[in-house]
Amino acid sequence: MNQVLHDRPRLADPPEARQLRPLAPYLRTVGLYALTLWALVTLVFFLPRFMPGDPLRALEDADSGQYIYDAAERERVAAYYGLDKPLVSQYGSYLSDLRKGEFGWSISQNQPVATLMKKRLPWTLLLTGSALALSSTISFFAGVTAAWHRGRFADRSLIVVLSATRAVPEYAMASALLILFAVTYPVFPQAGAQRPFATYGSPLEGIADVAFHLFLPLTALTLGLAANKFLIVRNTVISTLGEDYMVLARAKGLSRRLLKYRHSGRNALLPFITALGIQAGFAVGGSLFVETIFNYPGIGTLVERAVFARDYPLLQGCFILLAVVVLIANLIVELTYTKLDPRVRRR
């Protein structure tokens, strides 16, 4: 999507095109993401409708809650659920419901899907957001350090440790942490996001309790996310170390910190930020597992229950919500991308 071109004169641009230029790429990016979201929403709509089977077939069983006993009753039920309308008009009302923030009714929990998700979204955002922030910080500094000491002990051990944590799936990591630090050595709580029925004397106490419960899930998620970005930062920084400007900076007698972070580390920011966008998806995916293991009250546990009950409206709502979160994160990344590095130009 981005093309790194070194500055080249753009002679052919007519003046009015030059004025449009600053906005056009942003609009195009936003348009692409809107297109992706539309494609996903449409996929979710058509998927169950093109599956073999009939949504009312189960109700023809005399034991079902809403027994369909003859053709007229069948038509009445189909009309109630809008299943007698043509697919296009079903699709239209689906889209307009989504625009109003209506995600339908959860079958298993007998509540509006939107209500269920609203309660749980903040916890997932807290978990994934802090995991992304923490893993970014760790991997950036570890990456620069490893590159600086490349080939030596610090570098090699960082590579081994972080590659090993990447190979461990989140649920395995989470269960290992749970067994170690909540069961064998019960330092941290096994489940939940807060003490049950807690009343806090001060907001500070509340924050401490939330952080205490967040610690293990956050660690499990962070370890999985850190390795990838670490390798990217390390390799980019190594490739800058031989550059002329590094030699010059060293010759100027700049401090080691400036050399490390301002001159070489900064060059690793661009691929690092790209990886961050892709990792937003991984973080959301990983949070599904971690939340399930620690019974954390976020979207992940909701999804797990929805899968267990085959509660399709709930599952569909959660998917659309998570897709929006991931796409927004990617969009932000891509829009800041151009700001960060003046060398990036759009075709």
Partner: protein, 293 residues
Amino acid sequence: MTATTTTCVPVPEPVAPRRRTHIAGTVGGLIIGFYFVLLLFGSRLAPFRATELAGSSLASPGGAYRLGTNLLGQDILSQLILGARASLLVALIAGVGTVLLGGIVGVVAGWFPGWFDAVLMRVTDLVLVVPKLPLLLLVGALTGGSVLGLSVVISLLFWPNAARILRSQVLSLRTRTHVRAATGFGAGTWHQLRRHILPDLALLSVAEFIPAAGRAVGLQAGLAFLGVGDPTVPSWGGMIRDAVNFSGLFITPAWKWWLAPPVIALVALIVGITLLGAAAERRLSPRLARHTR
């Protein structure tokens, strides 16, 4: 080579390029070989059937039940051995599918530049940002999540990485002299692809296949863990799910033989694939390995 003749300077013995033995690759290969033995002979090695109620509930390891039993009294060792099947089949099918799809898109996009390439690459960008696990859960919950079905969906979601790498390789191959010469002799597209492009992509495809297979193993187990998959087909993810869902797991010592073995089996397989992949990447695509050596 030794300085027997009357040369003024003793010519040093040329140092033979030391062939790096890939310990990582060997270990990875051994691990995966072991799992393939389980895949091929699992039904003969396992003492019980996976769903068979073999003994009393939560029997500790020993006697007929080498690794104990779960809450229902099913033999853990048998489930563990038979669970290798699901993981390895997904690794193979989804790995091949991912590389195949990515290869088709990459070769077509690389060989036909212009708007066709541009459209294909935009589609690649779109698929790249799709939140994959939630979508897999959704489709899996709808279709029942058979091993084959999951592999197909995984392939459909994860091809963009392979497509990008293979496309850039095709783009670079197009400019090589032997390809240009063939074009000069009037070679057609099909001949070019078969004789000059595809053989050069084979090694790179293997380097793409291994991580794709590893990812598929993790995904299949993860989906089974979240409840997508046939509960009668033994899988490590499903075992972990059963164990974690047992509310008394950590009150009893049962987690030691119920939760730990599938986790270890799974992590060992993924580590094995990762090690093999690292070795293969060094061997097959030296461009990537230069910095990590």
